[in-house]
């Protein structure tokens, strides 16, 4: 560290020493190329699932490309593979320049790169195979979660070591954003990943029900904040001034922007849980802080846009600036919309609908995507020492992507608001105007087609960029020798000798990454503690005073199938205390109902109806036929068919271990339950199977997975109906 308080340095005169070194640009190039590769994959999978919603036949009856398994692949690929690699490329490039040093360890950089790609490949293989924890953007199973932790630590160690051996005393604001990202993502990932394994590829979160929901959305929202926002703002504060050739509009504003954003963001998670069984006060906190987020977000946007003061005429001719301006505008739009959606009365209409999908894609396609494109167009010619192959093509890319984003968001806004209003519509006699859920689905299918077209345009425009970049790299000179630069080494300064910095001592903050990191950590921990701890305490009391019976072994097994198939991406299990909703689904959900749910399955999107009170609504045979061919019982349904549940056998022997792990998580199974788990599950399955067989179903049904799933579906909401919950 350059600011060691060593006694000896106090008396020694400063001897500036000029040092030669080169930047590690090979690592930047690698991350950049993988950004392009994974970007194509993420967008392609996105278009596939968009088409699957427009026409169910595109699920092809194949387990590993069915919507419920592919959607998590799309979100994970977009966030962690596409945006992730772009972030790393930008961070490695800008950090080395801002700190006037090479990364501390090439080896660690390489481990980071290869480790991250291996994780992505593992994700791309396991998610379609149905290995999932069942929590959004945290689906990856335990072994991969552990690998992420290790690779992240490698990245962090390398990063902080680089900070310590920097040749620039002052730390530019972009680096602050990177540090906040590194620290907070580590915290979020670790806390939300505490799972107990059942087998190598199956684990249960230690949290249940409302606790799990709160931890998950504290994580989920801050994945948006600290993976899709803070690093991108850091990149914006570096690459926008670079591209414009102008300093940031207001450095002061960037500091206020930083601290306000970091402090406020961490509180906002509960806006995903409005009207749920999360305690009222936590919902209120989440809502208030979400509304407040609008201010720092717009502060950042304004700071970015005003950086172009005097350069606006260049936006017409330079595609890079075009992408920056449009990206910042989309950022402004998304960060206005977010606070709006966090207001309870707006959330009442918008939650569970496609409005949220529009919101997310305004942010990801418009803000993250465009910023990445701007960065790529700026970086590639620099790194490969050449000119962009075609500026004209880049303009075409811009307009096609812009149009695609617009079509996407407008169609999803329309779909969301239409469906939201249809769900709520009550006629003067007090009845639901659209009691059949499917009516509200059929209405918006044309918009699903339109959305797919928007997605196609965006994907197509991405391929234009890919072509442009490949051509650019192909015509680059083939020189291999790295560039050598030189900078003065920083002389260690004793803390007692701060005046040597030429500034008054209080300015030392900007030069002290350690102090800064601690302050950032405090800022994010304060909100975390105040929100999480009371909910944990409250939930403990609920669990302790509960007399509810946990799931039977077969039901639990069926629940795992529900998680594996990603039913939660289309179905919620959380009925809000809103009149039209209780009229449609039954009594609103109670906290006790999910105390044994590791993980919670409240969902966030209703492409299909809520299932919290499904038990007993239909006979077993209905489910048997529905899962085999949803359109046979509900014409017009877009739900995929699940033929493999009628082929694959239930692994009854796996059930005792599951109960055992659940018991160690606090679910009150008795020793007897554990000892008889397999036999109980078999006889439970036989009971359901016998009923079905008597109704004409083939006799082979008893060992099929569908039986376990039916057992679970019929259990949903049963405790409430039996009067076990008030």
């Amino acid at each position: 560290m350059s600011l060691e308080s060593s006694e000896s340095s106090k008396d020694q005169p400063l001897k500036p020493q000029l040092e030669n070194f080169s930047y590690d640009d090979a690592i930047v190039k690698k991350f950049l190329i993988m950004t392009l590769v994974w970007g194509a994959v993420a967008l392609l999978v996105g278009v596939v699932i968009a088409v699957q919603l427009a026409d169910w036949r595109f699920n092809f009856g194949l387990p590993w490309i069915t919507f419920g398994r592919l959607r998590p692949l799309h979100t994970n690929a977009a966030i962690f593979a596409f945006a992730g690699n772009a972030i790393f490329a930008g961070i490695y490039y800008s950090t080395q320049r801002l700190l006037k040093t090479r990364m501390a360890s090439d080896l660690l950089s390489q481990i980071h790169f290869w480790g991250w790609q291996a994780i992505i490949v593992a994700a791309a293989l396991t998610l379609p195979l149905g290995y999932t924890v069942g929590k959004e953007y945290a689906e990856l199973e335990l072994p991969i979660k552990l690998a992420i932790t290790v690779v992240w630590v490698v990245f962090a160690v390398n990063y902080f070591k680089t900070l310590l051996q920097r040749r620039e005393r002052h730390i530019y604001v972009a680096i602050w954003f990177y540090i906040a990202t590194i620290i907070t993502v580590a915290l979020l990932h670790v806390i939300n990943s505490i799972n107990l394994p059942v087998s190598f590829w199956k684990s249960y979160p230690v949290y249940a029900g409302v606790q799990d929901a709160l931890v998950q959305w504290w994580y989920g929202h801050n994945a948006v904040a600290f993976f899709l926002t803070t690093p991108f703002l850091g990149l914006m504060y570096y690459f926008l001034p670079k591209a414009a050739g102008l300093p940031v509009y207001s450095y002061r504003l960037s500091i206020v922007h930083f601290w306000s954003l970091v402090f406020i963001y961490i509180w906002a998670g509960p806006h995903h849980l409005l009207y749920s069984t999360l305690p009222e006060w936590a919902q209120t906190l989440g809502m208030i802080f979400s509304v407040m987020l609008w201010a720092p977000s717009w502060g950042g946007m304004v700071n970015g846009l005003l950086t172009l003061r005097g350069a606006w005429h260049r936006v017409r001719t330079e595609p890079i600036l075009k992408f920056f301006v449009a990206g910042l505008t989309f950022y402004g739009m998304a960060t206005f919309e977010g606070p709006l959606l966090s207001v309870k009365s707006v959330s009442a209409i918008a939650h569970y609908t496609d409005w949220i999908i529009a919101h997310v894609h305004g942010g990801t396609l418009g803000w993250n995507g465009f910023l990445i494109f701007a960065m790529i167009y700026w970086l590639v010619p620099k790194l490969w020492k050449t000119e962009l192959y075609s500026v004209k093509l880049a303009h075409v890319h811009f307009w096609t992507a812009f149009l695609g984003t617009l079509i996407y968001t407008v169609s999803m806004w329309t779909a969301g608001i239409t469906q939201g209003l249809m769900w709520r519509a009550v006629d003067p006699s007090g009845h639901l105007v659209y009691p059949d859920f499917i009516e509200t689905v059929i209405k918006i299918i044309p918009l699903y087609f339109l959305r797919a077209i928007g997605g196609f345009l965006y994907l197509g425009s991405f391929f234009l960029m890919l072509y442009n970049i490949v051509k650019t790299i192909a015509k680059a000179p083939k020189t291999k020798a790295p560039d050598v630069v030189s900078a003065y080494r920083l002389t260690p300064v004793a803390l007692s000798n701060l005046s040597q910095l030429g500034d008054r001592p209080h300015r030392i903050l900007e030069g002290l990454p350690a102090v800064f990191s601690v302050l950032t950590l405090i800022a994010v921990i304060v909100g975390t503690v105040i929100e999480l701890i009371p909910v944990f305490l409250g939930n403990q009391h609920v669990a302790a005073s509960s007399s509810l019976k946990p799931y039977t072994g077969l039901e639990l097994h069926g629940r795992d199938i529900y998680v594996r198939e990603g039913c939660y991406v289309c179905h919620s299990q959380m009925i809000r205390p809103i009149l039209s909703e209780t009229m449609r689904y039954g009594e609103y959900s109670r906290e006790q109902e999910s105390i044994y749910d590791h993980p919670f399955q409240w969902g966030s999107k209703r492409i299909g109806p809520d299932l919290a009170r499904l038990g007993g609504k239909y006979p077993d045979l209905w489910h048997y036929r529905h899962m085999l061919d949803p359109r046979e019982v509900t014409p017009g349904s877009l739900m995929p068919a699940y033929p493999w549940l009628y082929r694959d056998k239930t692994d009854f022997r796996a059930i005792p271990k599951k109960l055992k792990v659940m018991k160690s998580l606090g679910v009150p199974y008795t020793e007897m339950d554990l000892a008889q788990a397999e036999a109980d599950a078999l006889s439970h399955a036989k009971k359901i199977a016998d009923r079905l067989i008597s109704q004409g179903v083939p006799a082979t049904v008893q060992n099929q997975e569908i039986i376990a799933l039916i057992a679970y579906l019929q259990r949903l909401g049963e405790d409430f109906k039996k009067g076990l919950i008030q």
Partner: protein, 66 residues
């Protein structure tokens, strides 16, 4: 048992305005402190220097400009 039920009720259903106020108060403190910090005397030149950091490229010793 009564006490436990009471704690549960409070934590579940009440607004707990204390926590909301505490959150806001903490934020206002951070916000105002940051404002005072960035407008401290003599900081203008300092920030003007910082602002230039991304625009300063080191000269390449082996020819081309970076």
């Amino acid at each position: 048992m009564i006490q436990r039920a009471m704690i549960q009720k409070v934590l579940l259903y009440y607004e707990l305005p204390v926590l909301v106020c505490l959150g806001l108060l903490l934020f206002m403190t951070v916000f105002i402190a940051t404002l005072i910090w960035v407008f401290r005397k003599g900081s203008t030149n300092f920030y003007q220097g910082l602002e230039q950091l991304p625009l300063q490229d080191l000269n390449l010793l082996n020819g081309q400009e970076g």
